[in-house]
């Protein structure tokens, strides 16, 4: 059975007297331990889908089943409990956290709120989480704004895995990082997925990164699914108009090198 099944999801926004469907009748599923990527141009609906799946906003229509139950029907304690299994990492952890909070405080919150560890046990758990994401435990007393961007994104991942989720929504989670740091973060995510069987809903504008880390990809255009399939197959030979446009627009080092080499021969 699917871990997450989204059926006929629709979300409209009003703009003046017009109604615009940001997400228009979108259906997909994610299996346990699988990475499904969402890609598309600005305004294609990929971040709206992420927010709907997280129930940060409510859909106008459609159904979301998560771990076998109707996720949109949950409320109160049942919703809070299920939310521990569905975590998120955003592009900018500095915006997601209180910048003055310490690393320890950021990791203490989910352990406390979800009743995962007793007060006495929490420092040890925090140290273990930091180690799990490749950080040293000495970082715990530091303020979020004092550490580097890459370290901060590792803390965001540590916070996400603290509640032992089955699914993490990654919304451009590696997009703002320097390339040298980005590779390390992507490897960490793949490593966690392999070991803990975590599934990812991986939202990115970068087809190269999607092809590198995702099992499947959905290409969105104006709120609708334009193309859907194995990530490498779709990106290597897109069939939809938007897929072809996205692939054609991506900068390519090898293509540039070949162009320069042939220009040099003239």
């Amino acid at each position: 059975m699917s871990l997450l099944a989204v059926s006929n999801l629709t979300k409209c926004y009003r703009r003046g007297d017009k109604t615009i469907a940001a997400v228009d009748d979108v259906s997909f599923h994610i299996d346990p331990g699988e990475t499904l990527a969402l890609a598309g141009p600005s305004g294609s609906g990929k971040s709206t889908i992420a927010r709907l799946v997280l129930r940060l906003i409510e859909p106008d229509d459609g159904r979301i089943d998560f771990e076998g139950s109707d996720f949109l029907a949950l409320s109160g304690a049942a919703l809070r409990a299920r939310r521990a299994r569905l975590q998120m990492v955003f592009q900018d952890p500095l915006a997601a956290f209180n910048p003055r909070a310490t690393v320890a405080r950021v990791l203490d919150d989910p352990l406390r709120v979800h009743g995962i560890a007793s007060r006495a046990e929490r420092p040890r758990r925090i140290a273990a989480l930091l180690e799990r994401v490749g950080l040293i435990a000495d970082l715990a007393p530091r303020a979020i704004h004092e550490i580097s961007g890459g370290q901060r994104q590792r803390v965001a991942i540590a916070r996400a895995i603290a509640t032992k989720p089955s699914l993490i929504v990654l919304d451009e989670a590696a997009s703002a990082l320097d390339v040298s740091v980005r590779g390390e973060i992507l490897k960490l995510l793949l490593d966690l997925q392999r070991q803990e069987k975590i599934a990812y809903l991986f939202i990115s504008h970068d087809l190269g990164v999607i092809r590198s880390v995702a099992h499947r990809v959905i290409l969105l255009d104006a709120g609708r699914i334009a193309e859907n399939g194995d990530a490498q197959t779709v990106i290597d030979a897109p069939q939809s108009a938007i897929g072809k446009a996205l692939v054609a627009a991506a900068p390519r080092l090898n293509r540039t090198l070949m162009r320069l080499a042939s220009a040099g021969l003239d």
């Binding site: 141009p41 390339v179 980005r182 092809r211 590198s212 099992h215 996205l246 080092l253 090198l257 320069l260």
Partner: protein
């Protein structure tokens, strides 16, 4: 090929809390006339500081040292002293260069004390050199930078920032924002300036130029706003166009369109392009030469084919290896999982 600007031992330090942080360390670099030069590097490499230093946009609290020799059509021959009569109107007390006919200035401006203590980095806090209604204002700063000529932002240098929403005035029409650059620097009347604005809007391919003239920034998409920012940057016909991560906030398709636009405009107008980017693959598509920066230093400079195909420095190699392209071997080990 002739040189447009010759940068020697350029050093910039920012004050952060009570510490001095070196953002650029003794950078020497020649920018050739008419070339497309990319400056690439990761965060903290100094690439944006270099762009701001060249444009005279560094915050007042920064310390600048070194020398920039300019070979602009409006600048005097190298080494020549400009007659005092054509010196621009500088008020020593306020350190402002007015918009009055700023002729060539050949002098090692001994700049005085900085009054502004608060600014830390060029990206946060206020800029000392702001373009306000097309006027370039410079505040006096602690500086030992020697320049053969102080180029005027807007007239000699066009600057395109990453976020067009921040660089455009939200309550001024698109037409006026472009027209006032032309009016300020070219001495045109308002009606001539609007005519020029309209032709610029056509050149940057905004749909429906007549209504675009009257539109406000919030009525445009991110890509359209960046087209407006580019039109304003080139409105006075600058010799040098600096694009500082000008496409980084745009989606891939719009980014490719803006890069194509910049390439076309630079070629048509014979401008020199300084393209600042964190993306080596994107820079390689546009630039003829690439300068790689790290920790405030110039690591490697060469033709694009050499930098990308046969880098001499280990760091350049590492940057290329870290690039994840459409033909890079995937990180994901697909054996096992997939049904």
């Amino acid at each position: 090929m002739t040189t447009l600007a010759s940068i020697r031992d350029l050093t910039v330090t920012y004050r952060r809390d009570s510490n001095e942080v070196a953002a650029l360390r003794s950078v020497s670099l020649d920018i050739a006339n008419g070339e497309r030069l990319a400056i690439i590097g990761e965060s903290g490499s100094g690439k944006s500081t270099l762009a701001l230093a060249i444009a005279g946009l560094l915050p007042g609290s920064s310390r600048i040292g070194g020398r920039i020799d300019w070979f602009l059509p409006s600048s005097p021959p190298s080494g020549a002293k400009a007659p005092p009569s054509v010196l621009p109107d500088i008020s020593p007390s306020r350190g402002e260069i007015g918009s009055s006919p700023a002729g060539p200035l050949s002098a090692s401006l001994a700049m005085g004390e900085s009054g502004d203590k608060g600014v830390i980095s060029p990206l946060e806090g206020e800029m000392s050199g702001r373009t306000e209604g097309g006027l370039v204002r410079r505040e006096v700063r602690k500086s030992s930078l020697k320049q053969s000529y102080i180029p005027r932002l807007g007239r000699d240098i066009g600057f395109v920032f990453q976020d067009p929403s921040a660089s455009l005035d939200p309550v001024m029409t698109i037409g006026k924002q472009i027209a006032e650059v032309a009016r300020t620097h070219l001495g045109l009347t308002w009606s001539q300036s609007y005519a020029r604005a309209k032709s610029l809007i056509e050149r940057v391919r905004l749909p429906d130029p007549d209504s675009a003239l009257r539109a406000f920034p919030h009525q445009l998409s991110g890509g359209q706003k960046q087209r407006v920012a580019i039109a304003a940057a080139i409105a006075a016909g600058p010799k040098l166009l600096i694009a500082d991560e000008a496409t980084s906030a745009l989606d891939t398709i719009v980014q490719a369109e803006i890069v194509a636009l910049i390439r076309r405009l630079v070629t048509e107008d014979g401008m020199t392009l300084l393209f600042i980017s964190h993306d080596i693959a994107l820079a390689a598509e546009l630039a003829e030469r690439i300068a790689v920066f790290r920790h405030g230093q110039l690591v490697e400079l060469g033709m694009t084919a050499q930098i990308v195909g046969a880098p001499a420095q280990h760091y350049t190699r590492a940057l290329l290896d870290a690039h994840i392209g459409l033909d890079t071997r995937p990180l994901l080990d697909r054996a096992g999982l997939h049904a």
